[in-house]
């Protein structure tokens, strides 16, 4: 049998990044403040995790405006969706393999 840990994605080992991906899987586009609020994080902390995810090509950043205030929204990419699903499968297999 193949090693179940093989498909676990290193990037999702952080609970915060896993949280961001979970939110973006079920919401079309979410802005920075809503993400911060849902995950109960500080600005700097969230920003660094978001850029990691962006560099991996898992999320798209869209800079827009509401009036004169900047409104940055994030959404998941196809690659991000695929990576997340694979990670879920790997977690599932991991649990199954122990039983």
């Amino acid at each position: 049998m193949e090693n179940p840990i093989l498909h676990l994605n290193k990037i999702f080992e952080s609970r915060i990044r896993l949280g961001v991906m979970s939110i973006l899987m079920v919401n079309d586009a979410v802005n920075f403040n809503d993400l911060k609020q849902m995950l109960e994080l500080t600005d700097g902390n969230l920003a660094s995790h978001l850029s990691t995810l962006e560099e991996s090509g898992y999320l798209k950043v869209h800079k827009g405006f509401i009036g004169r205030k900047t409104n940055t929204t994030y959404s998941i990419t196809k690659a991000g969706e695929k990576a997340f699903k694979n990670h879920l499968l790997a977690l599932e297999n991991m649990i199954k393999s122990v039983k």
Binding site: L18, G19, S22, I23, V26, V30, Q37, M38, E92, M94
Partner: protein, 217 residues
């Protein structure tokens, strides 16, 4: 990564997905409060109807057109007052629950829920005002129930799932009222059942399920 960590991770994912799409701070007590308000309102309405009946008012074809209009106006104002009181009470208990949980009352999920609610209820409200304007009194009660039921089903995507069943009950009552008890006199009874009894039952059930014990969110 151990098995336990995997289970924990899956658990986190599920919780975050739920929390980011559903407004879960909706309190069952909001439903109970709104239900009691509706029952009290229905009682007052019945008193007023009986009072006018005592004056000899029977139906709008009587020569008592002035009194009939007076009764309709009274009931309309009463309905408006019930709506405002019920919403205020509902808002209070949900606000209380949200602040206890440290959740925000105005976030992504509650915004979506409020917007969808306003859209459906606003449409229903205008439809009902139109019916009243054209003197289609028979459809007013059932329309209240059906539109409210549809509004609940619509917002149940964004909040606690039980709301969907409350919505189905409201629609069923509205349609039964319309098809089988098509006399204006029965409308108030169905209205009290739908807005009073159903709210208290489902609100109580939600409270029992989610709030009785210290919240495990």
């Amino acid at each position: 990564m151990t098995e336990e960590q995997s289970i924990q991770a899956l658990h986190d994912i599920k919780r975050i997905m739920e929390r980011s799409t559903r407004f879960l701070s909706l309190s069952g007590l909001s439903g109970v409060g709104a239900g009691i308000t509706a029952l009290a309102g229905a009682f007052v309405a019945q008193q007023r109807i009986d009072y006018y009946k005592g004056l000899g008012l029977r139906n709008q074809l009587d020569d008592n057109a002035v009194r009939w209009d007076q009764l309709r106006l009274e009931l309309l104002i009463l309905a408006g007052a019930i709506l405002i009181i019920a919403f205020s009470i509902g808002f209070y208990f949900t606000w209380r629950k949200a602040s206890r949980e440290g959740a925000s009352l105005w976030d992504n999920t509650s915004r979506k829920m409020a917007m969808n609610m306003v859209l459906s209820l606003g449409t229903g409200g205008l439809f009902i005002l139109g019916s009243i304007y054209h003197q289609y009194d028979l459809t007013v009660g059932p329309a209240c129930l059906v539109f409210y039921g549809l509004a609940l089903i619509n917002v149940s995507k964004y909040t606690v799932r039980d709301v969907r069943y409350l919505g189905l009950s409201e629609i069923a009552l509205g349609l039964i009222n319309l098809f089988f008890f098509d006399v204006v006199g029965y409308s108030l009874m169905f209205w009290a059942l739908g807005f009073g009894v159903c709210h208290i039952l489902y609100g109580g059930l939600m409270w029992w399920k989610y709030e009785r014990a210290p919240a495990k969110v």
